[in-house]
């Protein structure tokens, strides 16, 4: 396997323009002769499907939800970054690029990040043209707010529902193309394998989730926009259906998986309340614009939050990081919360929580103003906890949120399988070891609206593909594999445990050994434990019902089976990366002040894992990262 990132030559600000000129084009009249499969209908998938269809390609789009409008991008709250510099506060494409590389702890590819910053402005133009109702000032112009890891206000937002509005914008563009017949939409359809003909991605195998029918689809190129793998932890901010299945199947067919150990643990989520908990709910990072984070100075102080006077509180982020204060990046904020809880100063019944307090902001700006900014979040918080955050401080704790790792892709977003492109959170390219707030929406839409529509043409114009139909042996083999696996899931020899019980067991193990803090011994234990859980799973999992019907237990079982394989390479990656960077915190590698300590001499690379067969240790390939524009420093937010 060879990793060729295909980064264009020339100065960084000219690379994308030059590449756009150098790429081969498909004649407008010929585009309709090419077909593209898009799996996933979130920001990346919907925008890609709509944009490619608008160019003239024949697109087939698949999602597991009952409608493309429900993909989990919809739950993104805070906003989307762009380098518009509308507030006149010193922003620029270069600054957005610089902040993103630094925020990612210098583990992202410079050329990709620069392109992301370049197209960020076009995304905002595109969304406004679609009718996305962004927040505006009284003069009618767009409003911005601040997010972590930046000292300029560059985040565009639509209340606390920015992801919803951007997704509905992309969904409306997709709907228009569906109505025109240029996109054929397949909801309630789950991709279960990718089909390679002569080493090139030419189609997928799916399961119709209503009838259970295993189906085959052929195309000239395949795009995966299937999101991240945070749900591996069972408890995460992901939707219940989010999964690694499509990416993992692609990996098993030859797509390298890059940096799986890079996960984002988001600092502000509602703490776990009991064993019944099925998911964790995020409270937007935007809350840190006005909320102040603190714990009691004394761990034995058991008074209610509002009864603790100012002098007995420790606003530990403001104390440790005076220049960024409560707006330090997510990895830093999460680790600081873990540190105070480890010291025994955590709050709430479990001691796993810290306060996020709005009392000062309400006094300063009025309750009305705070309600306008965060009303829906406060409402959601009250629904879940039965506490009123206007009156008592919120209780929050970190939770698994986003995954920076993903399928390795080159500058054209193509994986190590020719023809297989990967977009959005499912790829690894732009966020390094930590993603800054409001950058996920930016990346998903950048890939879908402004990158893949160009690079797919370049691929198709040169691919020289023979016609293939779904009776080809490669389709027969892949479909037979899917059928056999389904049968195996339904017929465990000694069924006695539910799918969820295995998923919870795996999640807890990973949270303890491969979560906010990791060490060699713990990771090695996890790597011993995971194969045992996997073995028990295949022996003891109960999957009621049959394959030829709507069967939610079967859907879950298939996804958990994949998490049980994927978890192992995640731990291996975390074990191999003997440094701390961004969201990956190895307890052996920290500075005297407890901050993450990078090792640029030995780990300034992407680790891309190649699947070597069942039970075999995956093979690591390295893409060396070179930093010509951003100076590598110890990331400091003090």
């Amino acid at each position: 396997m060879e990793l060729n990132a295909r980064i264009p030559d020339g100065p960084i600000e000219k690379k994308w323009d030059k590449h756009r000129f150098d790429m081969k084009l498909v004649n407008p009249a010929n585009k309709r002769k090419y077909s593209v499969i898009v799996v996933g209908s979130g920001l990346a998938g919907a925008s890609a499907a709509a944009s490619m269809a608008a160019l003239g390609y024949e697109v087939q789009c698949f999602c597991y939800q009952d409608s493309p409008r429900r993909a989990h991008s919809i739950a993104a709250q805070g906003g989307i970054n762009a380098a518009k510099n509308y507030p006149n506060d010193g922003d620029s494409i270069y600054r957005l690029f610089y902040d993103t590389v630094k925020g990612g702890d210098y583990r992202a590819r410079e050329a990709n990040v620069y392109r992301l910053a370049q197209v960020s402005n076009e995304i905002i133009d595109q969304c406004v043209a679609q009718g996305v109702p962004f927040a505006r000032d009284y003069g009618g112009l767009l409003s911005n707010r601040s997010f972590g890891g930046a000292q300029v206000s560059r985040t565009f937002y639509a209340r606390g529902q920015t992801g919803q509005q951007l997704l509905l914008g992309a969904y409306s563009a997709l709907s228009q193309q569906i109505a025109k017949g240029k996109v054929k939409m397949f909801p309630r359809t789950e991709m279960l394998d990718v089909v390679l003909v002569d080493g090139v991605a030419r189609g997928i195998i799916t399961r119709n989730m209503v009838t259970g029918k295993i189906e085959r689809y052929v195309a000239d190129a395949v795009c995966l926009a299937t999101g991240g793998y945070g749900n591996m932890f069972f408890l995460s901010t992901n939707a219940k259906g989010c999964n690694v299945t499509a990416a993992w199947r692609a990996h098993k067919k030859g797509a390298a998986f890059a940096n799986p150990c890079y996960m984002q643990i988001h600092p502000t989520c509602i703490p776990v309340s009991g064993d019944h908990q099925s998911k964790l709910t995020l409270m937007s990072e935007s809350l840190r614009n006005d909320g102040r984070i603190w714990v009691p100075k004394d761990g034995n102080d058991k008074r209610a939050g509002i009864d603790i006077p100012e002098q007995d509180r420790d606003y530990y982020l403001e104390r440790r990081y005076p220049s960024f204060g409560n707006l330090v990046p997510r990895d830093v904020a999460s680790r600081a919360s873990k540190a105070v809880c480890d010291e025994g100063r955590g709050i709430g019944k479990t001691g796993l929580g810290v306060y996020l307090d709005f009392a000062d902001a309400i006094e300063r700006d009025s309750r009305q103003t705070i309600s306008e900014r965060y009303g829906n979040l406060f409402h959601m918080y009250e629904k879940i906890t039965d506490e009123n955050p206007y009156k008592t401080p919120m209780r929050i704790f970190p939770a698994v949120h986003y995954t920076m790792g993903g399928i390795w892709v080159d500058y054209n977003l193509m994986s190590t399988i020719p023809g297989l492109h990967v977009l959005g959170e499912a790829n690894f390219s732009d966020h390094g070891a930590n993603r800054l707030g409001a950058s996920a929406l930016m990346q998903g839409l950048a890939d879908g609206y402004f990158v893949i529509p160009y690079t797919i043409g370049n691929y198709l114009a040169q691919a020289k593909l023979d016609p293939v139909d779904t009776d080809h042996a490669a389709f027969n083999d892949a479909a037979a594999g899917v059928e056999a696996r389904t049968k195996k899931l339904l017929n465990a020899p000694n069924p006695k445990r539910t799918v969820d019980s295995f998923h919870r067991q795996l999640g807890l193990l990973l949270w303890n050994k491969c979560g906010m803090g990791r060490n060699k011994a713990g990771l090695e234990e996890a790597m011993e434990e995971i194969p045992k859980i996997r073995e028990e799973f295949w022996k003891e999992v109960i999957v009621p019902g049959g394959s030829k019907e709507l069967n939610q237990s079967l859907e879950k079982a298939g996804r958990v089976a994949d998490f049980l394989e994927f978890a192992e390479v995640t731990c291996l990656d975390a074990l191999t990366r003997e440094e701390s960077c961004g969201g990956h915190f190895r307890e052996e590698h920290r500075t005297e002040e407890g901050e993450a300590k990078r090792d640029d001499d030995n780990f300034s690379h992407v680790s891309a894992w190649e699947y070597m067969g069942e039970g075999q240790r995956p093979k690591e390939h390295r893409e060396q990262l070179s930093f010509e524009y951003v100076k590598l420093t110890q990331r400091s937010y003090k």
Binding site: Q130, P133, Q176
Partner: protein
């Protein structure tokens, strides 16, 4: 039963498939914590059913934070249950008490055929959007985002309408199973913005006729839709749709 937990009697709609007649089945829910969400209560019941070798209850859900619009259950006759401005996934069991009997049914509307148990087919809502719920711009070539100032009042009102999550509770609550509030929300969101005005005539006509053709009933101003809407979308938007429709019919472009 441990402290604070409760035992409930569920009467749940069970239906194997679209052709099956279906019926209410009595299932006990034991040791339910008041901190659970309604769907977490169903998870607990399903774990028990599965372990007992029975079919778990099929229900649609995904984000579990009230924004994706996937979940939707009629709870004691009310779509999304007794709390206002709340989806089924955000309803919590502290709303109920020990010994309660809870009737759980799917959305009922001829445009939403039952697929299994509590899961219905809502493709008809997507069809309405496909008939005109968009601004016809392709990717690229759009003017600078600040080129068209939009008054804050209009932008906020447009956002109120755009908050619709497409769950279909409005249809489920309507005696006529009308999708008027859903359609009105999208028509209004776009009609309030200058970008949306260009296609307003065709949009409202096409969306309303698609709604009628898809098996939804007409609106006779009951207002049940507004009462159950988890995003509290106002009936005023139906008024706005009607004005748009009148304008389109008598004035045109």
């Amino acid at each position: 039963m441990s402290e604070n937990t409760m035992n409930l009697v569920l009467r749940v709609w069970r239906q194997k498939g679209p052709q099956d007649i279906g019926s209410l089945q009595t299932i006990e829910a034991k040791d339910i914590s008041p901190d659970m969400s309604f769907l977490e209560m169903l998870d607990v019941v399903n774990e028990q059913l599965t372990t007992d070798g029975k079919d778990p209850i099929a229900f649609d859900h995904d984000c579990r934070e009230g924004i994706c619009g996937t979940c939707g259950i009629v709870i004691n006759g009310e779509p999304h249950g007794p709390d206002r401005g709340t989806t089924s996934c955000q309803l919590h069991m502290r709303r109920f008490k020990n010994g309660d009997e809870i009737v759980i049914e799917p959305w009922r509307a001829s445009a939403f055929p039952v697929i299994r148990d509590l899961i219905v087919d809502r493709d008809a809502l997507d069809k309405i959007i496909q008939s005109g719920g968009f601004i016809s711009v392709n990717t690229g070539g759009t003017p600078d985002a600040n080129a068209i100032p939009i008054s804050k009042v209009d932008a906020e009102k447009s956002m109120d309408a755009a908050s619709c999550i497409g769950c279909g509770a409005c249809v489920a609550s309507c005696p006529n199973a009308s999708a008027m509030l859903f359609t009105a929300a999208k028509v209004s969101q776009l009609a309030l913005l200058p970008q949306g005005k260009i296609e307003r005539t065709a949009r409202v006509k096409n969306m309303v006729s698609t709604m009628e053709e898809s098996g939804f009933g007409g609106c006779t101003n009951h207002g049940e839709c507004e009462a159950v809407c988890p995003k509290e979308i106002s009936l005023d938007f139906i008024g706005m749709l009607n004005r748009e429709l009148l304008r389109a019919t008598f004035i045109g472009d």
